[in-house]
Each structure stands twice: as structure tokens, then as C-alpha cells.
């Protein structure tokens, strides 16, 4: 091997140049510690509903262990089509417009790769899920971040988008209810965004993974607005509302030409999503109202609890309206998000992710996931209170 060239130099540029996720760094520190109360877990603490697990075992016994159609079992796509019509207010043909994927993560990757030519710009809002920027870069696109702000409830506005749109802009990527801020967009908010999209003739990818987890108003998806279905790829999955993260099951709904393009990549890379996970999803769709409603009710109580506890600590926090994250402002102590999170971890054994893991504009914030039991949540808030008092004494 040519000694003058390191292996690192041989890596693809767009892979080499992307820093690892800030979450990974934080995970490495947390995993060295014991008795940590974690508010940094982005997945439900509930078990997958028992009937889903039980049915999956049954499906395994029955021999659902083979390749499925590239798009996924037709029976599942039919069930998805009915569910999507009800939940998201848009009709999709199960034969040609729904693609079952390995989690929403794969679906997003497919959507970006199917749409982007090198140099195409993707507008997305920060703070946001950690993978968006990286996936755009992997697809040779140009990520263009739009900063949302606490004073707007972390909602996206047309003015913010107008300031960053260029002739190269091709796609707008949305994620509401939002990880990490818990923000949601009302129908009115979305109408403004839809008008912007139509005017600039953009495509939309909307990651609606937290659609079921809203606490004060039902979710509105941009696909349900006039003219949007035909220029949108809707992404959704089973991880959050059904507590099925490990099943890795998501899906994309899009007009047939887009679905066909995504399917092409999926076919050559994944072939199909896990047959057992697809069976599990089919069972999950058999009684979504009951399964999801119980969990939503519990999350709502925890949301109320954490919002009230943070307010008492004097940590300003936009009221979380969806997902299971609170995103308080911790800037008044003069520490960076990272230092605050590290000290909180070392001094009180509470893990919460620094806001900067979700984009630079997350500086001054901390993501606290409340997908954890009330007992742990209470203990975490007591420890946080002690920590905040200590910081206040130090500043005097």
C-alpha cells in the first residue's frame, strides 16, 4: 500500500468531512458512568404493545421469514393507505405510492437521494434531528439551515424561508412535531409555508414521525393542504407512537413517480424491510386508537409535569406541544450548553443532551426527553434543581 496516503485520505470527502454526531460524543461519556438518570433517550420508555409482540412471534412461527415485495407486503400498504388517509388527510394508492422502509431514517435517505443533483439546495430548520444535514451532504446536496427561535415557539415562518431561498433551492425538509424542541405547526402556520413552497415551485419532504404525539391540538400535516400532496414526500413510521424503535419500520408516501424513484434505490440497497417488522406493523395498525391514546395521555401528564418543574426552576422553556422533548433555555448561567450538560452529568448524574447537538442555534439550550417514568422524571428534576441552585450560588 502507498505509505504516503493514509486511509483517512482515501475516504470519500463528503463522508470524511462530516463530524460525528454530537450525540455520539455525549453517549461515550454517559456510558462510562453508573446510576445515571437519562433525559437523553429519544425513544419511548413504553414497551411495544403486547398484542404486537405476540403477533410477531406468531408470524415467525407461521414462517414470515422471506423476502417481501420491494415496496413491502401489499396487505400492509393497504392498511397504511387507510391509516394515512385518516391521520394525515391525504390519499395514496397502496399499489404505487407507498414504500415500506427500514425506519424513517432510510426513507429520508431515499427521498434525498432520489431528488438531489449535486449542488441542489435543501432548506431545513434548526434545531433539528441530528441526521438531516449529514444525509443531505451524503446525497451531494447543499444543506441550508434556517434557524427557528424560542420567541416564535420554534415554529418556521415564511419570512425565515424567504431569507434563505435561492434559485438552487429544490427541497424543503420539515419535521413537526419537532425533535428537539417539541414545537408543532398549526394549520395556519403551514398554510403560509405551503404558499411559499408553491410560489417557489419546491418539493417538500415532511418527517411526521411524531404526528400522533401532540398534546393540545391534533397534528396537521402539510400534505393535507391544497396542492401539496403532489409535491410532497410524507415520511412516517412506527418507532415513536407504537414504541417500536428496534423494529426499524417506516414508510414513505409520495406520488407514483417519486415512489418509483425511491424504490429503485431501496431495491438495490435494502431489497425490502424486515418481513417480521412488516407483520408487526400490520398488527399495530389493527387498533391504533387504543394503543396510542394511552401513551399520549401519559406523555401529556409528564409534559405538564416537566414544563411546570422547569418553570419553577426559572428555566424558560417554550411550552412543548408535541413529541416528547422539552428544550429549556439554560443560558443565564453563563455556561455553554455542552459545559452545562457535562457538569449536570458529572455533579448530579443526570444526562440531557446539549442543544448544540441539534445545530449551532441550539446553543444555550438543553434537550430533556420526558420519555421516562414519572419517578425518574421527578428525581431528575430534583437533581436539576440542586444543580441550578449551586450554579446560582457560584455566580454570586
Amino acid at each position: 500500500m502507498n505509505a504516503s496516503l493514509s486511509l483517512r485520505d482515501r475516504l470519500a470527502r463528503q463522508v470524511r468531512d462530516i463530524p460525528r454526531s454530537g450525540i455520539r460524543d455525549f453517549f461515550d461519556i454517559v456510558s462510562t458512568m453508573r446510576d445515571v438518570i437519562s433525559l437523553s433517550i429519544g425513544e419511548p420508555d413504553f414497551d411495544t404493545p403486547w398484542h404486537v409482540r405476540e403477533y410477531t412471534v406468531f408470524a415467525l412461527e407461521r414462517g414470515a421469514t422471506h423476502y417481501t415485495s420491494n415496496l413491502g407486503y401489499l396487505e400492509l400498504r393497504r392498511a397504511l393507505s387507510r391509516y394515512v388517509a385518516r391521520q394525515f388527510g391525504a390519499e395514496y394508492n397502496p399499489e404505487t405510492e407507498i414504500l415500506v422502509t427500514v425506519g424513517v431514517s432510510e426513507a429520508l435517505d431515499l427521498a434525498l437521494r432520489a431528488l438531489l443533483n449535486p449542488g441542489d439546495e435543501v432548506l431545513y430548520h434548526e434545531p433539528c434531528y441530528v441526521s438531516y444535514r449529514a444525509l443531505v451532504l451524503f446525497a451531494h446536496g447543499v444543506p441550508v439551515a434556517v434557524e427557528t427561535r424560542a420567541e416564535d415557539g420554534f415554529r418556521l415562518t415564511r419570512a425565515m424561508l424567504e431569507a434563505r431561498v435561492t434559485p438552487r433551492t429544490k427541497v424543503l425538509l420539515l419535521n413537526f412535531p419537532n425533535n428537539p424542541t417539541g414545537a408543532v405547526m398549526s394549520r395556519q402556520d403551514l398554510e403560509e409555508i405551503a404558499a411559499f413552497v408553491r410560489e417557489h415551485d419546491l418539493l417538500v419532504i415532511t418527517d411526521d414521525i411524531y404526528a400522533e404525539l401532540t398534546y393540545d391540538q391534533p397534528h396537521t400535516s402539510i400534505v393535507s393542504l391544497p396542492g401539496m400532496r403532489d409535491r410532497t414526500i410524507l415520511l412516517h413510521g412506527f418507532s415513536k407512537a407504537w414504541a417500536m424503535t428496534g423494529f426499524r419500520l417506516g414508510y414513505a408516501c409520495a406520488p407514483a413517480e417519486l415512489t418509483e424513484a425511491m424504490m429503485k434505490i431501496h431495491q438495490y440497497t435494502m431489497l425490502c424491510a424486515s418481513s417480521l417488522s412488516q407483520k408487526a406493523a400490520l398488527e399495530a395498525l389493527s387498533r391504533p386508537e387504543q394503543d396510542v391514546a394511552e401513551m399520549v395521555e401519559e406523555y401529556r401528564r409528564r409534559r405538564n409535569f416537566i414544563a411546570s418543574a422547569l418553570a419553577d426552576l426559572g428555566l424558560p422553556c417554550t411550552r412543548p406541544l408535541g413529541a416528547f422533548y422539552a428544550f429549556p433555555n439554560i443560558s443565564r448561567f453563563g455556561l455553554s450548553s455542552k459545559d452545562f450538560a457535562l457538569r449536570l452529568l458529572r455533579e448530579e448524574n443526570v444526562a440531557a443532551v446539549p442543544g448544540t447537538a441539534f445545530g449551532e442555534c441550539g446553543e444555550g439550550f438543553l434537550r430533556c426527553a420526558y420519555a421516562t417514568s414519572m419517578d425518574k422524571l421527578k428525581e431528575a428534576m430534583e437533581r436539576l434543581a440542586r444543580f441550578v441552585q449551586r450554579l446560582e450560588r457560584e455566580r454570586r
Partner: protein, 159 residues
């Protein structure tokens, strides 16, 4: 069901402060509503859910199916209430189907329960027949699994 009752039904020891936060109420409102439920007899008591199998108690529990004759003026209620007053009877339900009452009866041993059935329960006027089943092991009670659940397998940090 009122959310306050749901919370208490799953954990009656939840502090009034925490309940107030969860429901966006004041502590005083929570206390007043609980007091009202108690006064109205909707909340009838608070008990710990024990895993008695771990306690090595001198105790057996029998599940007894009872067929009875409904009585004029009072139907099943009179006989059911009469049976329910025995302290050995821990729970009693009116059932549809092949029998009328289902009882959960406790005693120190098999003989004691047998004596209760043959000497107290069966001779009661209106009791036609009984079928007694002894409980061997408890897997779940009042919605709570008795055996340790699998620990939280989630990664400590995830995106």
C-alpha cells in the same frame, strides 16, 4: 375516567404536588377533588399491591363459583351481600354465565377454606351449589406483573 382517578388507581402514593403539576391544577384543587371522591364513596380505600408468593404466608386463596336462587324483592343482591359480609370473602362478583357469584375466599389452609364452604357458605338458604378452585401461583394482580420485568434496555443516549 377522570384523569385524577387514573393516576391514583395506578399509584395512590403519588404526591399531591406532582399530581397538581401533571394535571395543571393547584395542590388545593387536587386535595379538594380527592376529598370529594372519598366523601362520595368513589374512592373506597388505598391498599398496597403485594406479591404474597414472596411472603411465605400461612394462607390459601380459593376461587369459588356459586349458584344461587335469586330472592323475591332483592334479586341477587340480598344473598350476595349476605355472603360478602363474611370476612373470609375477600372479593365477590355477580357473573353472567354458568354460575351466579364468583368469590375470592382466603383461609389459613385448605381445611379452613373447606370448612367455610361446607359449614358457612353451602348451607345458606338460596345457595344451590358451589365449585371451589384453589389458586396456586400469582402471575399478575390488579394489572401489576408479579415477576420482575426486563430491565430498561434502551441506550442511555439516543438521537
Amino acid at each position: 375516567m377522570d384523569e385524577l382517578l387514573k393516576i391514583l388507581a395506578s399509584n395512590a402514593l403519588e404526591s399531591r404536588e406532582t399530581i397538581a403539576r401533571m394535571l395543571n391544577l393547584s395542590v388545593e384543587e387536587v386535595q379538594a377533588r380527592i376529598a370529594e371522591y372519598e366523601r362520595a364513596g368513589i374512592i373506597r380505600g388505598y391498599q398496597a399491591i403485594l406479591n404474597e408468593d414472596q411472603l411465605d404466608l400461612d394462607k390459601v386463596t380459593a376461587v369459588i363459583e356459586v349458584k344461587v336462587t335469586p330472592q323475591r324483592e332483592g334479586g341477587f343482591d340480598r344473598i350476595a351481600e349476605r355472603i360478602s359480609r363474611f370476612p373470609e370473602v375477600r372479593s365477590a362478583y355477580l357473573m353472567s354465565g354458568a354460575y351466579d357469584l364468583l368469590l375470592f375466599v382466603e383461609g389459613r389452609n385448605l381445611r379452613e377454606v373447606a370448612a367455610f364452604v361446607s359449614e358457612k357458605l353451602a348451607p345458606l338458604e338460596g345457595v344451590l351449589s358451589t365449585a371451589t378452585h384453589f389458586m396456586l401461583k400469582t402471575y399478575k394482580r390488579l394489572g401489576v406483573l408479579m415477576h420482575p420485568e426486563t430491565p430498561d434496555e434502551r441506550l442511555a443516549v439516543s438521537p
